[in-house]
């Protein structure tokens, strides 16, 4: 039995995949194994096999015919052949006779007929025949299904579907011949005979007409009945839906009620069915039944009346002729009489003439003459009358013939009419009942499943659940991950249908264990309890296996004991870190056991996009549905590849796509300890954060009120559930953007401890207050635009920046990474603030309390917490606004040093202690990390290690000595070194693609030794994107994509490539060049103008400003922005001027606050630092210039875009812009031609993740 099922599964797949060359051996083997079944006669099987083979051959012929030559005739002949064979097969094997098959055949016929063969040529051939092919495949597939079902003896469903053979045959004939006449064959007479028979009858026309009349009356009755019935059904359906929805809403609220999920699904079924029914009814009312029939009836009436008229006219004419004939006859007789009279009178006159003598003779002669003339006249008249009569007779004859002909014609007409009407009637009747049948069949199926599920319920189960739940709410908060599943498995073991001795013996045991476990698990979740709960889960798992096998045997499903045993050893092996629940879920069906099912049944169920990716088969043992979390019993399906189990009805909503490997168990996600989740991710960023953020960036960045507008509660819940169930495989694209946002917000909100830890809350709040203070100052100072105050502001903000960096550095790596990721994402949202109206302030308000909140206390919320909310919001706003500075700076310790160095004395004086602390901290962190990576380090690592240390130490030193110059030196050197290495890397990447992998390693290593490497994988590309304004953002994505395309076999490379080179560069830009650039620029507008003019001859220029420009381009290995930057800078300069003269002008820009910060921040520096910055430069330009000039043409291409971008998107960031531009340009330069759809971003992220494990 098992073997044959397998064979069938194979075969079915063969069918399904459209390879119609049915593996004969396979099927034969399969059939042989069946032959052991007494109900099958071997001879019959052989015959069946032959027939099937014939059928498959014919199918192949048809396909070949379409492929090779597109002659209409050939294809039609093949089609006829196919239909013929199919028909004969179906006639021969009544079991194969099914509606599905017939429908598929009909579909194919229709599709083939629909093809316009005159248009066919080589090019459009594929398009034209695509539908035909698909229908051929459907036919093959259906046939396979029907066959499989038949062979399996699984005909219970199909018995319903099978139609009475007679009907089938008839309608089948229609398919093949498809003409009106054919249907007449069902009568005893051929049409002609029929007519002849009628012709013999005198009042045949009347008979036929009266039949037609009765037909229309009859049809009218039928239509009225159907209409009324449909209306009634419609009404009741609506009521049912209403009722079901109301009930559903009500019972949804009550938890732990027995059979709740069952009833919910029943109600859902109700609703679904009702909707289906409504559709069916609508269809029937419209084009499926009522309308065609009524139309036909009306037409018939009309024609019938016309014919009647015609017939009447003909008959009248006939009557007229006949009367004319009668008249002529009378006239004829009359004339005859007259003639006779005249004749006799003439005789008499002759006699008199002879008798009388001569005297009178003359007189008599005259009389005689007269009489004779009279007689002749009479004779003439008689002849005329006779003529007339003859004419009349011929007329009548003709008329009669005519009448006969007309009668024949009318009869033919009437017959055709009746046939047509019958045809319509038949078609609509078939429609009617077929649709009703389908409806009923699906209903029956679902009812059956409900019934089965209900049988499985054990009284008291939910009650105990309820009690447990109330007891363990406290626990579940802490270790719900372990406990919940535990309860599940224990439930199955305790109350499962297992009555076998074994189970009974084991039961108390496991119960005790579970209880024990729960006690031990109570508050803290240690590793040991993890293991224990897991082992415990295994025990109960094996028990539930017993239970399920029992229920399976109840299902009259013959399962060999061997099969059962085979499963047991498998169970423990499937355990990873997963919970018992997970095991329970996976335990079921080994592939061999759950034999192939009627895939045809799935065809009818609606499937979501994600559901289509699975290869489903019938599930035979009860487990939990992955979609609705209810128990699946009979109407379940299971994916062959990932072992996902779900209800057949849930396929509609399934959002977990097939991962083609075993699906991991449910993960506790929402409200779970962050560290637990972060542990699973190599970079410590929860996957949910990434998936939501990337999805939103893909499609909803411009949606108004993104993150503000709340999502649909039920949808959100569903998505949450799906994410917990199938994390990485959730097809999130089917959800609304607001729902996704809601999920992300919910996740953050439900974190037991926010990203910014409780212990740092106070510090951050202090910071927020400072920010507030600064902001207020700024407000007041906005009016008077004295440079001094601006510089003060800059210092203030820089100080806060530093402080925030220090604070953030105290966060655990995973928290920091996640926060960074989120903030960068939010920054990207803010970049679209014009469209989505979400400024950083707005997002700050929304995310404030989720990211940073005080340790929850039992004390009631007071109004004072409002100010805290404001501060939280302010802090997050600050983080978002300055995300570039904050996170880039902390990414690269060198940069940090650099920037601090530049910020210089004032900062140190104002808060001397903190930087020192941070430096130390960083150092220690660094050392631990380097220890961690030490095993993997190579020469590269060593180099950069020393670099890092150098920078760190230099920083410390400078702190101590307050010697900014030295610091600057150190960092410049660092930068240079790094820069050159990254440049090298970059070049290598571009030039030696085959070697990419090796260099991956190299880049890898380099990354590793940098203290904050962990952050980078995600942050870097993000940073880059962030800097870029929308169009360029896409460009930079393009770069990534191209890389991935080129090195598609090497996803790591892409990630690294994108991360490494740009990052080092951009962080440098931010930390160092930006500021210097700023300074110089702020210093002298004149010079700036000059630079703009001299831009094209940059290399030769010796002015300060020019060097800065070179520096910028040189810093970025790829950037060829030289010609570019000056242009922009010129523009900036002008802008700058205006802002200098009237700072308020800045405020009118859409994003008022941030830009203001920027400007103030980058306001004039002290001239000394300026000089210092430039002093060091001469060396770098020399190295940098060659590559940049070489690539200048490319940058030209991008120039215009970038120009407009930079000016429009960030018009108020004079300082940040040039750098950004150079970056923006530099990246596209790598591959300026490529265009890439946004959608691929997702892939990028995935690539990133793939690559991440290598670091850790």
């Amino acid at each position: 039995m098992l073997a044959h099922k397998q064979k069938k599964a194979k075969k079915k797949r063969v069918w399904a995949s459209g390879q119609l060359s049915t593996d004969v051996t396979t099927s034969e083997m399969g059939l042989k194994s069946i032959s052991s079944n007494p109900s099958f006669d071997p001879d019959y099987i052989k015959e069946l096999v032959n027939d099937i083979r014939k059928f498959s051959h014919v199918l192949i012929y048809l396909k070949e015919a379409i492929f090779s030559d597109c002659f209409k005739e050939v294809i039609h002949i093949r089609l006829d052949e196919l239909l013929h064979v199919l028909k004969s097969v179906m006639n021969k094997h009544q079991n194969l006779n099914s509606v599905d098959l017939q429908n598929a055949a009909e579909m194919l016929t229709a599709k083939v007929k629909a093809v316009n063969f005159t248009e066919v040529n080589e090019e459009n051939k594929k398009d034209l025949f695509r539908e035909v092919f698909s229908s051929i495949e459907t036919l093959a597939f259906t046939f396979g299904n029907v066959l499989t079902n038949f062979l399996m003896g699984d005909v219970s469903n199909d018995a319903l579907l099978r139609l009475p053979v007679s009907r089938e045959n008839k309608s089948f004939e229609n398919i093949s011949v498809d003409s009106v006449e054919s249907s007449s064959e069902k009568g005893n007479f051929s049409p002609i005979e029929l007519d002849n028979v009628l012709l013999k009858n005198t009042d045949s026309i009347e008979l036929a007409l009266s039949y037609a009349k009765t037909w229309s009356k009859y049809t009218k009755n039928i239509v009225t009945w159907v209409e009324k019935k449909l209306n009634l059904e419609l009404e009741s359906t609506r009521n049912i839906v209403k009722l079901a929805e109301a009930t559903r809403a009500n019972i949804g609220l009550q938890e732990f009620m027995p059979l709740q999920s069952l009833f919910t699904s029943a109600l859902l079924n109700d609703i679904k069915n009702s909707h289906l029914l409504q559709q069916t009814i609508a269809a029937l009312q419209a084009n499926k039944f009522v309308q065609p029939l009524l139309g036909r009836k009306n037409e018939m009436e009309k024609q019938r009346k016309e014919i009647k008229e015609l017939w009447k006219q003909e008959q009248n004419k006939m009557l007229e002729t006949e009367t004319a004939l009668k008249k002529a006859k009378l006239l004829c007789i009359q004339r005859q009489d007259e003639y006779e009279k005249a004749k006799s009178s003439m005789f008499r006159a002759e006699e008199e003439h002879q008798c009388s003598s001569g005297g009178l003779a003359k007189n008599l002669n005259k009389q005689l003459e007269k009489k004779r003339r009279l007689e002749e006249e009479a004779l003439q008249k008689v002849e005329e009358a006779n003529e007339l009569y003859k004419v009349c007779v011929t007329n009548v004859e003709e008329r009669r013939n005519d009448l006969e002909n007309t009668k024949r014609e009318i009869l033919t007409q009437l017959r055709t009419l009746v046939f047509q009407c019958d045809l319509t009637l038949k078609a609509v009747t078939v429609n009617l009942f077929q649709m009703q049948h389908l409806q009923a069949a699906s209903l029956a199926n679902s009812l059956q499943s409900l019934c089965d599920t209900a049988k499985l319920y054990d009284p008291g189960q939910e009650y105990s659940e309820f009690v447990k739940a109330t007891n363990s709410t406290e626990e579940e908060k802490v270790d719900g991950n372990v406990n919940k599943p535990l309860t599940d498995s224990s439930r199955t073991s305790r109350y499962g249908p297992a009555d076998s001795l074994e189970d009974v013996v084991r039961l108390p045991d496991s119960c005790n264990k579970i209880e024990e476990d729960r006690c031990s698990n109570n508050a803290d979740l240690t590793g040991s309890s993890f293991i224990r709960s897991w082992t415990c889960g295994m025990v109960s798992d094996s028990e539930s296996t017993g239970g399920s096998s029992e229920s399976r045997s109840l299902d009259s499903e013959s399962i060999s004991p061997g099969d059962f045993h085979r499963k047991l050893p498998r169970t423990p092996s499937s355990g990873t870190m997963s919970s018992a629940d997970d095991l329970d879920e996976r335990e079921p069906p080994s592939p061999s056991e759950a034999g192939p099912n009627s895939l045809g049944a799935f065809k009818n169920t609606l499937m979501s996009k994600a559901a289509v990716t699975h290869k489903f088969r019938k599930l035979r043992s009860p487990t939990k549905c992955r979609d609705c979390e209810g128990i699946v019993v009979f109407q379940g399906v299971e994916c062959e590849e990932c072992l996902l189990v779900c209800h057949r009805k849930c396929l509609e909503n399934l959002v977990i796509i097939c991962g083609h490997q075993k699906l991991v168990g449910k993960i506790h996600l929402f409200g779970a300890e962050f560290t637990q989740v972060a542990k699973k991710e190599p970079d410590g960023i929860p996957f949910i954060l990434k998936i939501c953020a990337s999805e939103i960036e893909n499609r909803a960045l411009c949606l108004q009120g993104i993150y503000r507008v709340s999502g649909n509660k039920t949808k959100t819940e569903k998505l949450c559930q799906a994410l917990e169930n199938g994390m990485h495989l959730v097809d999130i694209s089917e959800f609304n953007s607001h729902d996704i946002c809601e999920v992300l917000k919910l996740y953050l909100r439900q974190l037991p401890e926010p990203f910014i830890l409780f212990r740092l809350y106070k510090e951050f709040m202090d910071l927020a207050k400072e920010i507030q203070h600064v902001n207020e100052e700024q407000e007041t100072k906005k009016d008077n635009s004295e440079d001094k105050k601006y510089s003060n502001m800059c210092i203030e903000i820089n100080r806060i920046l530093l402080k925030s960096k220090d604070l953030l550095r105290q966060l655990p790596a995973s928290n920091f990474n996640s926060l960074h990721y989120l903030i960068v994402h939010l920054k990207r949202v803010v970049d679209h603030a014009e469209e989505n109206k979400m400024t950083s302030k707005n997002l700050g308000v929304i995310f404030g309390p989720s990211l940073i909140r005080p340790r929850p206390t039992t004390a009631p919320v007071t109004i004072s917490s409002l100010t805290e909310y404001a501060n939280q919001a302010r802090l997050v706003e600050f983080l978002i606004t300055y995300s570039l500075k904050i996170f880039d700076g902390s990414l690269e310790p060198q940069d940090v040093t650099c920037s601090t160095g530049v910020v210089s004395p004032q900062v140190d004086q104002s808060c001397p202690s903190k930087p020192v602390i941070s430096a130390e901290e960083r150092d220690s962190e660094h050392s631990t990390k380097s220890l961690y990576f030490s095993s993997k380090e190579d020469s590269h690592t060593a180099d950069s290690e020393s670099e890092n240390f150098e920078s760190a130490t230099s920083f410390e030193e400078s702190e101590r000595k307050q010697n900014t110059l030295e610091k600057c030196d150190a960092c410049l050197i660092d930068n240079k070194e790094l820069e050159s290495s990254s440049q090298k890397m970059d070049d290598i990447c571009r030039t030696t693609k085959p070697l990419a992998l090796k260099f991956d390693r190299a880049t890898n290593n380099i990354q590793r030794h940098m203290p904050r490497t962990k952050i980078r994988p995600v942050s870097l590309p993000v940073d880059r994107l962030l800097l870029a304004s929308p169009p360029t953002e896409r460009n930079s994505r393009n770069v990534g994509n191209v890389n991935s395309d080129k090195f598609c076999k090497n996803p790591t490379f892409e990630g690294l490539y994108r991360k490494d080179t740009p990052t080092t560069v951009c962080s440098k830009f931010n930390g160092f060049d930006q500021q210097i650039l700023q300074k110089t620029r702020g210093q002298q507008c004149e010079q700036n103008n000059l630079t703009a003019k001299t831009a094209m001859i940059v290399p030769s220029a010796l002015q300060e400003k020019v060097t800065v420009n070179i520096r910028v381009s040189g810093d970025h290995p790829n950037s060829a922005t030289q010609p570019n930057t000056p242009v922009i800078s010129a523009r900036e300069v002008s802008e700058r001027r205006s802002s200098d003269s009237c700072p308020l002008a800045l405020a009118r820009a859409p994003r008022t606050l941030q830009p203001l910060h920027w400007t103030t921040f980058y306001k004039p520096r002290t001239p000394t630092s300026n000089v210092r910055g430039t002093e060091e430069r001469p060396a770098s330009p020399i190295t940098a210039v060659p590559p940049s000039t070489a690539r200048t043409p490319l940058s030209h291409v991008e120039k215009s875009v970038a120009d407009s971008d930079s000016t429009s998107a960030c018009p108020l960031q004079p300082g940040g812009k040039p750098k950004e531009n150079s970056e923006e340009h530099g990246l596209p330069d790598v591959n300026p031609t490529c265009q890439r759809p946004r959608l691929k971003r997702m892939q990028q992220f995935e690539d990133l993740e793939d690559e991440i494990p290598q670091f850790v």
């Binding site: 503000r708 507008v709 709340s710 509660k713 707005n842 929304i846 995310f847």
Partner: protein, 178 residues
Amino acid sequence: VVVLGSGGVGKSALTVQFVTGTFIEKYDPTIEDFYRKEIEVDSSPSVLEILDTAGTEQFASMRDLYIKNGQGFILVYSLVNQQSFQDIKPMRDQIIRVKRYEKVPVILVGNKVDLESEREVSSNEGRALAEEWGCPFMETSAKSKTMVDELFAEIVRQMNYAAQPDKDDPCCSACNIQ
């Protein structure tokens, strides 16, 4: 008066429209704003203190506090957003729960009536819900100032009715707009 409702439905816009007579174009989520305005309802002057609250779920924890301190409540939903209408229901339940009696002065408001073409919640739905709650129902537009003054006049009337008319200052001590 406390103005409640889910995010982005126009609570602040309504309030500001009422208080200052202007429509604010900005789309900033509120944490909490407090307004005070003197109005004359049915020829009796009263000072209306309006608390404009945060709609975002993130601040849901504050809602209890608002409700505790509020005397009258304006429940706002956006009639171009079905979800905001759904969100309203639990808020009303929360009011009843916190206040511990049914007869809290409440007005159900469908805002953004100027966006008739994008309407997702029909008048009838709103009216039916208001009937169920036994409270007045209005459809307003902060943008075109439709029914805004009427709304606040009505809530004052409601509160006067609930808080016994013998009080000198019948206005609610805190009117929150969420």
